[in-house]
Symmetry: C2
Subunit: 377 residues, 2 copies
């Protein structure tokens, strides 16, 4: 049996179709809300005098990346070489991989990508820097290297100034590597519910940053671009004065988890633009079953909610099903009725889909391929 | 900006490559274990005198479906019209959608598929039967209709004999519909840890089945094919004598959740054949970070474990990362080291990938497209 060298994923619906023609389940973006989110973040960055480098891991979609750049972003963040390749192929000229990459084959792919775009990468280990140096022989120009600090998330990064300096020494010894700045993203702070908690977490991040600035200054080294900040914390990184660039991703779509955050008065608000369109496929006396289960949305950050229907609750998902309950049984949706779910977590939900269906009112206005969807090496 | 009408997903590696050439993260199947699982279930069904209709929702992959049919399965189960279309296009001639489908456009797609394969579908609602009747005008031959019973999972189905009879009346009135049997799958029983608990759950299912048999007999109606049973319970459905057909899916791959089940002495054992290959991308003093997060495996049934390394634990996944901890810090894997994870739940994990990489020893022997991957309408 022979196998193909590629799979084709056809678009699920044609541009111009009505929303009623979209089969469930489907991933929708309300373009009015999406446009307002795009504009609000671009304006915030412009008025706040901070560089905006939105995170492409949220959408993995060239169409969204282009709209972000057209509205003022200086480039995109991504997490994986495969995402960088997709964005570079889509014409994005400035890409920062906000993540460690250590496999030689992947580093060579990133090095070759410098022919198409400015490429930055994070390091937190001297062995990884050595591997990057070897790979950089295939680069068309210098590779921007960012020292990643663990500013509290307890994942990747170095957590003290001495280790940061040792990394800097390793980077400086590579003539195709260019020390470009510091990655200081606090992933663990984004969903602390109270603004004061998030601000306190960023204050902790700032203490490590200050220690590293001090150490670099003692060496006479410019710290370069300080980058970090997600949808939950970017006002605090911005107001700190220590950051040059913010990396929010979820703001274009939002999700139930961000919806549960409380927000400071003076920060821009973002609307839910991402929805999972689902239909009732079975209607029992005390519950309805919808066709949205684990294969359509991710529950790592909790259950979705039903948009505009606070009287309904979604629970007990299985692979292809979810259960809708109502306190008032008369309010349970009927067989065939369609609902919009607000996913618990946008990034891994979008990653389940090949296409984003952009709607304006009741009309399909865009059908965007999610080019970098997948586990992504 | 114009958009393409299809996305291409290229194969991640070539057949004949070495395992070392497979970039992480990647979805692997150990073909030796897979082959033994395939053979063990086929032999069980043959010797037990029960029809085997494996569930394609686990793998969504034509290559696996063909191997199942070649080893004795009478056809495949699936959950979605899109899966049925993929399997029919791949040459599978007998397909049962073990699920409710109510949208007219989807029912018409299923009706048209009767030109390529025998198609069965489940119903639990008279309105859905009426919709199916309308759609059946586009069928090339009769559509097999199965009454779905809710035998304890509290999801779809009817839960009493009177409702089953009313459904039967509706089906019988459609001249292109053929009452074919009863779907009686207890999804909630599969992961009860003790065999006695699972047997007890199937005993409950058998009581409703008996009541329905009685009601049909009083009408002089043959109950047709009784189908159900998953990887956790199929020995109990088989030994009951009430079932004609079993529908196990996970047995080809297995997962951590099934690995946590206890198994009766006389049932066939299945081996873990599905693995997530991951690499250490950051190495801290007290943990290692691997490149397998929510976008590579599903945690709906709990965390993965590290194959062959009971001394390591995977926890705290984020979108692109997971943390590996060790009681003995000297045992923590090194930067760049590769591990195999056993996913918590195979079905939604496979659904995250476009390709299954089949390895035998250290060599890539197969690269199988997952044709029906996705949310699937």
């Amino acid at each position: 049996m022979t196998h193909p060298s590629a799979i084709e994923r056809p678009a699920p619906v044609a541009i111009g179709a009505s929303l009623a023609e979209v089969e469930t389940p489907a991933l929708l973006v309300d373009l009015d809300a999406f446009d307002r989110n795009l504009t609000a973040m671009a304006r915030y960055a412009r008025e706040g005098g901070i560089r905006l480098r939105p995170h492409g891991k949220t959408h993995k979609c060239v169409s969204v990346a282009r709209l972000q750049v057209e509205s003022g972003a200086i480039g995109l963040c991504c997490q994986k070489p495969a995402e960088a390749e997709a964005f570079a192929a889509g014409g994005i000229k400035d890409l920062l991989v906000t993540n460690e990459v250590v496999a030689p084959a992947k580093l060579r792919r990133l090095a070759r990508l410098t022919a198409q775009a400015r490429i930055g990468i994070c390091v937190d280990n001297r062995d990884a820097v050595e591997a990057l140096k070897s790979a950089s022989a295939e680069a068309s120009g210098p590779i921007d290297v960012y020292l990643e600090l663990d500013v509290g998330a307890a994942r990747c990064g170095v957590d003290n100034a001495a280790d940061a300096l040792r990394l800097l020494d390793a980077v400086s010894a590579g003539d195709r590597l260019r020390f470009a700045g510091i990655q200081a993203y606090q992933g663990g702070a984004q969903h602390l519910r109270q603004p004061a908690e998030r601000r306190a977490a960023i204050d902790v991040a700032l203490r490590l940053l200050a220690a590293v600035f001090e150490a670099l200054k003692a060496r006479g080294v410019d710290p370069g671009v300080i980058t970090g900040g997600g949808t939950g914390t970017f006002p605090f990184e911005t107001s700190s004065g220590a950051y040059d660039e913010i990396q929010p991703g979820s703001y274009v779509f939002m999700d139930r988890d961000y919806g549960d955050n409380l927000w400071p008065q003076d920060a821009p608000r973002f609307e839910q633009s991402l929805f999972l369109l689902t239909g009732v496929m079975s209607r029992r006396a005390r519950w309805a079953v919808v066709d949205a289960g684990h294969k359509t949305h991710s529950i790592d950050s909790g259950m979705p909610v039903v948009a505009g229907r606070a009287d309904l609750a979604y629970d007990n998902p299985s692979d292809e099903h979810g259960i809708i309950r109502a306190a008032d049984l008369d309010a349970l949706p009927r067989l065939g009725e369609r609902l919009r779910l607000v996913p618990g977590h946008c990034d891994p939900t979008v990653n389940l889909w090949d296409w984003i269906i952009g709607i304006r009112g009741d009309r399909v206005e865009a059908v965007w391929p999610i080019e970098a969807r997948g586990g992504s090496s």
